[in-house]
């Protein structure tokens, strides 16, 4: 089915897992309908778990189509021990004060998470009280995006709290496994967390520990705020201040929180700002190796602007995050609801742009089919899944980089798509019309990358960057990027459209934007979605500009040298790279007879 709503409705009906965050970020123009379908899915799941007919009907979806997943414990497990009514099956976590187990509640006929106070803490009335307080506070908050608590009790001398069992991963795990998120994906998660925090604040609580490890993304995409161990209570009648004391995780803390104060909801707004910053950068706005350094940086206002780390982020999103991260609580959003409103408007703006882009894209693809392809390279719209997730980003460090960075370098591989597979191309390899190419790049530092192509006749065109594709420059360090990139989650390739004798593909990387190169590239034909590249001779002016980049070789081009090979023109850049370590140049020659 072409309509995304129909497709997702089918999945909801079938009981198939839907990754809501992914669906919403891919189709932000349908955000609100998808949101309502996710509500329908939750209604359905809630009915499944309540199951008032108690087995008189089959579980929904059983014995039906292939897309269906049925959430049934696959095997009979032997309990480790019993705690009250619960059969404790497996230890799934451990913290300073307690242990967390997966358990089976025979009454609810479902799995639950059981947090037990450690036996050696059981004699401490304060710890016991704190433990029970966490449960009591959680029970005060009833919201779809907040962990559901089922009960708290003491059995066999052990105090425990049992909650819903979440199958999924923390947001921290998600970004470490799959790389940083798009602004759209982060904003959708931010919306859910604003709603969760509004419910927390409405219950007279401040969470004080909003961070990526305390938010779970359940299988199916539900976002759940958990861990209420650091919560501050609303000041009682006549009191003027929130509960004081430093609680939480320093690197996420608002400046006032670091001083042991709580400003009310704006304190959580700050935490949410840090979380959103981290989702899109995998870094923190203020990084430090000690608490005192962190405080000093706060005092000096040394936040790294989010756009310095991700210049491609939409301005609306950047503004929301920057306002949430204001040092002065009075300048932040006063409530989570106010932040939710701005995030929703941000998403609306992104959705409008997305709608426009998709309409354009439809036209462009139609154009490919109708006008036929002439010569050279065209961007092929490959309907393939994106490249596998990159590995963990080693760039996440709390300590500043050394003053003299290592010379810039990158692993680069040109890939050819063969059926469902990809194969690397060696220098001198033969390529042929209709083949799909892409370039894998993994740099040792964040870098601006430019890719150009030249054929035997000296025809040059720009292959990367291409406006609208993800990733945009600068490419983040230590991650494998596939160029030219993805569009709406679908991988785009360069398509060879005709023979050209020989082709040279050149990639240039730099720590800073190469303005001269960007100017030069503006003058040469560029690969554009769905439009064959129009070929023109390399403009002698462009050639001169390319040679002049980095001051490596500023010799003016000899007259009539327009066909001179691009590699020659880039010799200056290579020299510059050798000298400063701030630029690298890579190239490959291919046969395209």
């Amino acid at each position: 089915m072409a309509d995304p709503i129909d497709r997702v409705a089918t999945a909801v009906s079938d009981g198939a897992a839907v990754d809501w965050v992914r669906e919403k970020s891919r189709r932000p123009e349908h955000l609100e309908s998808l949101e309502q379908l996710s509500v329908l899915e939750r209604i359905r799941r809630a009915h499944d778990s309540v199951d008032p007919t108690d087995g008189s009907t089959e579980p929904a979806g059983e014995a039906e189509a292939e897309t269906i997943t049925v959430d049934v414990p696959a095997r009979q497990e032997t309990p480790l021990f019993r705690w009250g009514n619960l059969e404790v099956l497996e230890k799934i976590g451990e913290g300073s004060g307690g242990e967390v187990y997966r358990a089976l509640d025979p009454t609810l006929k479902s799995q639950v998470a059981l947090k037990l106070l450690r036996p050696d803490h059981a004699d401490s009335p304060q710890l016991t009280q704190r433990f029970l307080d966490e449960g009591r506070r959680l029970a005060r908050v009833r919201h779809a995006n907040v962990l559901v608590v089922h009960g708290a009790d003491r059995h066999d001398g052990r105090v425990g709290l049992w909650t819903e069992y979440l199958a999924g991963h923390s947001l921290e795990h998600v970004i470490m496994q799959h790389g940083s998120m798009s602004a759209c994906e982060a904003a959708i998660i931010g919306l859910d967390l604003c709603r969760a925090l509004a419910a927390v604040h409405a219950a007279g609580l401040i969470h004080r520990d909003v961070k990526t490890t305390n938010v779970m993304r359940e299988e199916g995409g539900r976002i759940v705020l958990m861990d209420f161990g650091s919560v501050a209570e609303s000041p009682g009648m006549g009191a003027s201040a929130w509960t004081a004391g430093v609680q939480g995780t320093p690197i996420y803390m608002a400046p006032e929180q670091l001083r042991g104060e709580v400003a009310g909801p704006p304190t959580d707004v700050y935490g949410l700002g840090v979380l959103l910053y981290r989702l899109v950068t995998r870094r923190f706005p203020i990084e430090a190796s000690s608490l005192s350094e962190l405080s000093e940086k706060h005092n000096r206002g040394e936040q790294i602007p989010i756009r310095d780390r991700r210049p491609d982020l939409p301005l609306e999103f950047v503004r929301v995050v920057e306002r949430a991260l204001k040092s002065d609580p009075a300048e932040r959003y006063a409530t989570a609801g106010a932040m939710e409103l701005d995030l929703a408007m941000t998403l609306g703006a992104m959705a409008r742009r997305e709608g426009i882009r998709r309409r354009f894209q439809g036209v462009a693809i139609a154009a490919i089919a109708s006008i036929g392809l002439v010569a050279g390279v065209v961007i092929g719209y490959g309907m393939f899944k994106p490249a596998p997730a990159p590995g963990p980003d080693a760039a996440h460090r709390a300590i500043a980089a050394p003053a003299v960075p290592a010379p810039l370098t990158a692993e680069v591989t040109l890939m050819r798509r063969v059926g469902e597979n990809e194969e690397p191309l060696e220098p001198g390899a033969r390529i042929a019309p209709h083949e799909l190419l892409s370039l894998l790049v993994r740099g040792n530092d964040s870098m601006y990358v430019y890719v150009l192509d030249e054929d035997a006749a000296g025809e040059v065109n720009g292959l990367y960057p291409i406006r609208g594709l993800d990733p945009a420059n600068p490419l983040r360090a230590h991650m494998r990027h596939r160029l030219p990139g993805d569009l709406g989650g679908e991988m785009i390739h360069w398509k060879v459209t005709s023979a050209g004798g020989k082709e040279s593909i050149v990639a240039i990387g730099s720590r800073r934007p190469l303005e001269n190169l960007e100017t030069a590239m503006a003058e040469i034909p560029k690969a554009t979605m769905g439009r064959p590249v129009k070929f023109g001779r390399l403009n002698p002016m462009a050639l001169r500009d390319l040679r002049g980049i980095g001051e490596g070789s500023a010799l003016p081009p000899p007259a009539g040298e327009g066909k001179r090979r691009l590699n020659d023109a880039l010799a200056g850049l290579r020299e510059e790279g050798r000298k400063s370590g701030d630029v690298w140049v890579w190239s490959i020659d291919l046969e395209n007879p």
Binding site: T53, L132, R142, H143
Partner: protein, 115 residues
Amino acid sequence: MAYLRSILLNLVRDEARRVSRRPEQEEMGEDLATSEPSPLEVAVGREALERYDAALAKLSEEQHEAVVLRVEMGYTYAQIAEAMALASTDSARMMVTRAIARMGRLMRPPEFRRG
């Protein structure tokens, strides 16, 4: 027969909804006891449930029945086909899917209800 089946279904459905929305048992310990929302309200929120009910009321009788049987009562497509005298399980799946897609659009807050 169709009329009788419809009455029976309505009875079962109403009872099922009553039980699921207002559970008799409370799982909370004394310390945590609350008597307020049902698990369904907890899972989706009261407002969302109200929007769900309002959207259901706007569906055709057939679509309404299909959604309740599938979403609330967990019927298989085969059971829905049988209960609603539809030609095949595929027809039932199509009926439910269309109804759910329509629900998704109807449940949007008014300012989003254009397309």
